[in-house]
Subunit: 127 residues, 2 copies
């Protein structure tokens, strides 16, 4: 499989597939005689794993940790759970921040008449 086929199979852009090998997140693939990268199903499965992990908001370093556990037959599920729980807490923190941000801004928006007078509570608040 050449890189574009692997990229389609994994659901990642070609550039990203190369990038993940460049930074050592996944193994560097073997090359054809002409120097083309060649991928097999195992490589694609790992790329899919990374894509899903990223979609969960894990950082590259987080993915690296998870990937090691994924590849480790002797892993304990408690370690995986610990990492996922940390990420869950980060998400919850972000949610709280976003909520207070939302409430404050919504308050300002509703208190602004939105007509053509230069008077504006949003600007007043920010300034």
């Amino acid at each position: 499989m050449n890189i574009s086929a692997a990229s389609k199979a994994a659901g990642l852009p070609v550039k990203t597939v190369r990038y993940y090998a460049d930074i050592g997140l996944v193994e560097a693939p073997s090359r054809s005689e002409a120097g083309y990268r060649t991928y097999d199903d195992v490589a694609v499965r790992k790329l899919v794993f990374v894509r899903r992990s990223r979609a969960f908001g894990f950082s590259i370093e987080g993915c690296r940790e998870l990937l090691n556990l994924y590849q480790d037959q002797d892993r304990s599920s408690s370690e995986v759970k610990r990492i996922a729980s940390m990420r869950l807490e980060e998400i919850e923190e972000k949610q709280r921040e976003l909520q207070s941000l939302h409430d404050e801004l919504a308050h300002l928006v509703t208190s602004c008449r939105g007509d053509h007078m230069p008077d504006c509570p949003i600007i007043d608040y920010l300034g």
Copy 2:
């Protein structure tokens, strides 16, 4: 006022204060004979405005827009309201995304026993 005083007054790191002038977000301050940047209250007020806008999640470009409106005596409050409302919608979209992310991950975490067996539903799902 030298840069560190202005930085404290505005609630921004010194580096950031310099940076905002470098990219032309705020005016370049005048300089003392020795080349030190000197700030007045007006400059500080604009820095505070930027800090607050950033805290609301506006991008630098968004801040630039708002700052122009802030400095424009003839601004219409409808324009300000429009920009703030757009930002509010973005926040709400982000909240929805984060919520489904949270639910999915929370489901996986609770379904994982977290013991010392290599069996793990989180890994199974990702891989």
